[in-house]
Amino acid sequence: MAKGLPKAFKKSLWVYHINSGSCNGCDIEIIAALCPRYDAERFGIKLVGSPRHADVLLITGPVTRQMVDKVKRAYEQMPDPKAVIVVGNCGNTGDVFYESYNLVGPIDNIIPVDVHVIGCAPRPENIIYGVIKAWTKLETLEAKK
């Protein structure tokens, strides 16, 4: 992790979302978390369209063969400091897709993961809680310096 957290990091997290082969269930819950009922945007959490703008990588799915390279590249494009959150059981362990010829996951085999959000699909509250965990982790890291 790079030196100190930038000011913006403390106030608002920008999140980039990759679907690496999930069923879409987690993805709609992520959007639901941003919509008025749960309204994560009031905390400044915002979904952005490019990994280069993001502080946090939200990643779903068990990673198919075709997506490994793309996941790695998106991770590398993110500026430091960064946190990775895996949303959903299949990204964490494989879950129902435990056996396959086209899957490379779970995600922690491919990139380092900071927070695991479990559930199939996790509720929006759960996802927001995961983002807060990532926040806490980054703050703790900063405090240790």
């Binding site: 068990p62 063969r65 494989g94 897709f97 435990y98 056996e99 396959s100 010829y101 086209n102 899957l103």
Partner: protein, 178 residues
């Protein structure tokens, strides 16, 4: 156009293609609370006349709806099943026609139908990579679902040595440090 009953369709097929119609059956499902009868037509044809049967279908319905091509490994042969629907557009009139085309494993080649029904293209491409059949004269001969770096000559739905059992991995397995 006059709607033919499933029995009439089978008779017409037999009349036109004779011995090349290997088998035919009409399954009847009972659906809903009132147990209404729904006929489901299955015809097995020889691959030599397969394209002709599709051309014949077009005389029954100008644009038959090809839902999908499915298929399976049946030991010595690979059976492709073309699921067609005709007579749609009015309540309970639709008739399904499932045409089964067995292909010998030694030479699993069948003619393309995407020149007659353009919507068949993706389905045909998928059968090439999943079952290892060869679609003759297919307009676009690339992989769709499986990545380019996937080993050649491995087909996920095959149940013989060309299957993928040996390259599949279990995501729950954790490597132990020795």
């Amino acid at each position: 156009m006059k709607r033919l009953s499933p029995e009439e369709i089978v008779d017409q097929f037999k009349e036109k293609f004779g011995d090349n119609i290997k088998d035919s059956s009409i399954k009847t499902y009972h659906i809903g609370p009132k147990k209404i009868e729904l006929p489901d037509l299955w015809i097995t044809v020889d691959r030599s006349v397969f394209k002709e049967t599709v051309r014949y279908l077009i005389t029954l319905e100008k644009y038959p709806h090809l839902a999908v091509i499915s298929g399976y490994d049946a030991g010595d042969t690979i059976n492709l099943i073309y699921h067609f629907f005709i007579y749609f557009g009015e309540k309970r009139r639709e008739q399904s026609i499932n045409i089964v085309v067995p292909l010998p494993k030694s030479n699993p080649v069948v003619d393309t139908i995407s020149d007659i029904i353009p919507g068949a293209l993706i389905s045909e491409q998928e059968k090439q990579e999943m079952l290892g059949v060869k679609i003759k004269d297919i307009p676009k001969d690339s992989r769709v679902f499986i990545s380019e770096d996937f080993p050649e000559d491995k087909y996920p739905w095959r149940k013989d040595e060309k299957g993928v059992d040996d390259i599949a991995r279990n995501l729950h397995e954790v490597e132990k440090d020795e």
